[in-house]
């Protein structure tokens, strides 16, 4: 990796002040499970690395009347060990369980998962986030795109958002608190993620001098039926080929409100709003789940090699809905 300056921050203000005005200036180090490999492969080459592991106030899971606040530094293991998370937000627990590396669960943080860079192999091989050749042509449409996006893929971005937790957090109505030089701003979880339209954009709304501080799941989402289902080729140490997180509010066995969010299918966690409507007023069974799955993927436009992911995403939706309806933990 390139040489860099290592800075150890102990307060938010200090951390923010150490960040720069461009992405090349500084990078935030939490668990390091993604940043270190990006740096070793020279995909990112920050001049400074700001270690936030000891920054106060970014740890712990706290409940109050408004909801549950998860610090950005909470590790996957801490998330899974938390009784509230496990019992009240099963979709989030399922998603964390899907991270099948014990090492990554031990070191990886919630904030890191949400800010993780895409796994797109063109990106990781140094062709940039938008995967272009030296003439500026995208390598993805005519290239090896079996793991790329099937939704939101009109270009120039074709990667898939790699976050394991984002679909569940979006389905649970979470908000993200971002710390910056002027204090804190709050964005809804879906608004955090963007599809970059040019080389100057990244995959979320964070500015170079901001960092993710915490995630708040509203109290209204407590106890919702929810589930995440990931389709992985390998049982462990593998990225999902497609994933779906769902929440449903049931009254008298009928859905009054449902949310379906897909993971690993688009440059952002994909809210399948068409499908949400399909659920309203119905009890969830195999055929309702299947038609919601159809609706969720109705706008999918596969690339040359990834048509199979449309089917996998449908299965993920169907199985997540059936699991949520059963209340399977």
């Amino acid at each position: 990796m390139e040489r860099f300056e290592y800075a150890h921050a102990s307060t938010r203000q200090e951390a923010i002040s150490l960040l720069g005005s461009s992405w090349d200036d500084a990078a935030v180090l939490a668990g390091g499970t993604d940043l270190i490999s990006l740096m070793k492969e020279y995909v990112v080459t920050p001049k400074r690395v700001v270690d936030i592991k000891n920054v106060e106030g970014l740890n712990g899971i706290h409940s109050n009347a408004e909801g549950v606040t998860i610090g950005a530094l909470v590790t996957m293991d801490e998330l899974l060990e938390d009784k509230t998370i496990r019992s009240e937000f099963p979709a989030l627990a399922h998603a964390a369980q899907g991270i099948t590396s014990a090492q990554i669960r031990a070191m990886g943080t919630v904030g890191g998962d949400l800010c993780q860079r895409p796994r797109c192999w063109y990106f990781r091989n140094g062709y940039g986030l938008l995967a272009k050749d030296e003439n500026g042509k995208s390598l993805v449409p005519e290239g090896e795109n079996r793991y790329h996006a099937i939704l939101g893929n009109n270009g120039p971005a074709y990667f898939v958002n790699p976050s394991s937790l984002a679909p569940a957090l979006i389905a649970l109505g979470a908000k993200l608190q971002l710390a910056g030089p002027k204090g804190q701003r709050e964005v809804s979880a879906p608004d955090f993620f963007i599809i970059p339209k040019s080389d100057s954009e990244r995959e979320n709304v964070l500015r170079p001098n901001e960092m993710l501080a915490s995630i708040v799941i509203p109290a209204s989402s407590r106890g919702l039926r929810s589930a995440t289902y990931e389709v992985r080729h390998k049982t462990a140490l593998d990225w999902p080929l497609a994933a779906a997180a769902v929440t449903v509010k049931l009254e008298g066995g009928k859905v009054t409100e449902g949310r379906i969010v897909l993971g690993h299918v688009a440059p952002i966690p994909w809210q399948a709003k068409e499908a949400d409507k399909e659920l309203t007023g119905k009890s969830i069974n195999e055929s309702v789940a299947a038609s919601a799955a159809e609706a969720a993927l109705s706008r999918a436009k596969p690339l040359s090699q990834n048509g199979y992911k449309v089917k996998l995403a449908k299965v993920a939706v169907k199985r997540a809905l059936l699991a949520a309806a059963k209340g399977e933990a």
Partner: protein
Amino acid sequence: MADYHWPPTDKCSLIGRRISRLDGPWKSAGRIKYSYDVNRPNMLHGKMVFSPYAHAKVVSIDTSAAEKMPGVKAVEIMTEPGKEVFWVGHEVAAVAAETEEQARDAARRIQVRYEKLPHLVSDVAPSKAGEHTKQLAEQTDGNPDQALQQAEVISEGEYGASVITHCCLEAHGQVAEWDGDDLTLYASTQNVSGIPGEIAKANIVSSADKVRVLTPVMGGGFGSKFGADSWGLACARLAKKAGRPIKMMLERDQELMAAGERPSMYAKVKVGAKKDGTLVGWQSESWGTGGPDAQGGAPNLPYVVRIPDRRVKHTAVLTNIGPARAWRAPNHPQMCVITMSALDDLAAKLGMDPVDLLQKNIQMTGQLAKTYSAELEKASQLMDWKSKWHPRGDKTSGPIKKGLGVSMHTWGGAGHPSNCNCVIQPDGSVSVSLGSQDLGTGTRTVIGIITAETMGLPLEAVKVNIGDSKYPADGASGGSTTVGGVSSSTRRAATAALNQLLEKVAPSLDAKPDDLEAVDGEIRVKGNPSKAIFWKQACAKLGTTPITGTGQRQRGNDDLLSSGVGGAQMAEVSVDTETGIVHVDKLVAVQDCGLIIDLKTAESQVYGACIMGITYSLFEEKIMDEQTGRCLNADLEFYKLAGIGDFGDIVVHMMTGPGYDERGVIGLGEPPVISPGAAISNAVANAIGVRVPTLPLTPDKVFAALETKGAVA
């Protein structure tokens, strides 16, 4: 005199038992030093500079910036300007620096200008490869046209397996250290005795005897570590220039890009049979990547089952994927999946159980027919085949479909040249020395067992010296040739040493050497156990001069060895037809390999091969991008390897006893890795009712197959 022939197995105290490997505890405790772990005083670190292009001409190389980098001590150009490079990962230059990080940074500062040239890295059929083809073989036996015309049932299909790599746990590389004109290489190699000659040939030393190669243990080779390799030569040259030892191990991405590629193989097959299942004719047109020079060679189809009337044609597609290297049973897994899939499809068309089809034609397997037949029976029993098997397409409801598949394979496994010295010291200690190497297979343990058995001593009493080129020369460990070679030379050396001892001891026991035997830590008179002398007392009679016995694997036929094995495997899979994901629930491997020296390490070889087989069946694929010429998954993130959750039971059965033991020792490394692909592919076809034509059996391919006619879901 003691007889060098193998004792009957019921008379053996060690041979044929389940004995844990000698180096197991050291490995488990992390106390053993692999090449990767060797750290010499004052050592530098080296890094290779590889071509980023699949085909290019090197126009110029400027090392001046790199030389000025902190810590840099030496730079070496590997490909001179004007020469071409033929794959991403082709060596261009190398650099050594004080730390690994400095070497890595410096490697990036070596400025190479390339002129890009056209490449082909896609794994395409010859018709789409333009000029990049080379027809390697066309052969006709009998009259295949007539045979196929007269066949009552014909099955046609296209089958194959993709390009994969070796994925050795320990990357390629070495530590090079000079002492004057003498070079020591701590190399991760399958060829300890052969490397010095290669270094001499490259004019790095004045003669081969100036080179010492040390490989006490190594972390896997699978056919990719026979040579000194460009990084070996670079490391030695850099160490000479810098005047300091250098460690240079490949990075994981370099390992996947540059350290060897198993060629793909695909074939269009037409096979015909009579209604009763008798095979009558075979025709295949095959092709596959063979690297830039078609080193992969041509297959001999059909595999195992020699259908008399056949026409075969093979074309190599010349690609810039990387150099083809032997991969555990070169070409066999590919030939096996092509042949056994075709026969399985034919069985389905005939409405026959595929095991019955194989048994019906078992004579076509040649001299191993009886073995194959017995192995199929044993495997059927262990799989409970008869009660579990159903015709194509699991008709039960729900998305999970279960199925069974069968395959057979063969391999030679004759022992390679081997020399052994066995020394008995006057204090009773015994050592054997061979310039062989233990790739992780149990070679060290096998050598110890044979020596101890010969001397009538416990295994712990024998010191095994291997992995050093100063020891008597031994062959490269490839093609399952090691166990045969070292077993013969060790047995002969140990017997020769023992016989010298018996001659010394005979007078004191008032017996002829011929009447003595070494058993249970004693030298005693045969048939009269009371006339005995303890081993240590016997050795004390040597005075001050140790005994050395030498042994050599006999040229040509060696009556301690044999070659030619068969094996049968059966797989049981569950296919989730909604996700296309295949899970191997059970894999039964039945294998013969003649006389087994250590049943435990033999079984362990088969378990390992099954896991490797499951991995290439379901996951492995070197994914190349035609636009950039690069391997996109040169990592263990998207170059997927099976984990413990990806398979269920592995049941191993070794064929031993009469008919097997008396054949002598035969190699085992390759054979069990051959069949998993075919057995698993056949099981998937049996489960879902339709063939997934090529390995790996990924969800996209399973869906594509399900969409074709005949699928159950």
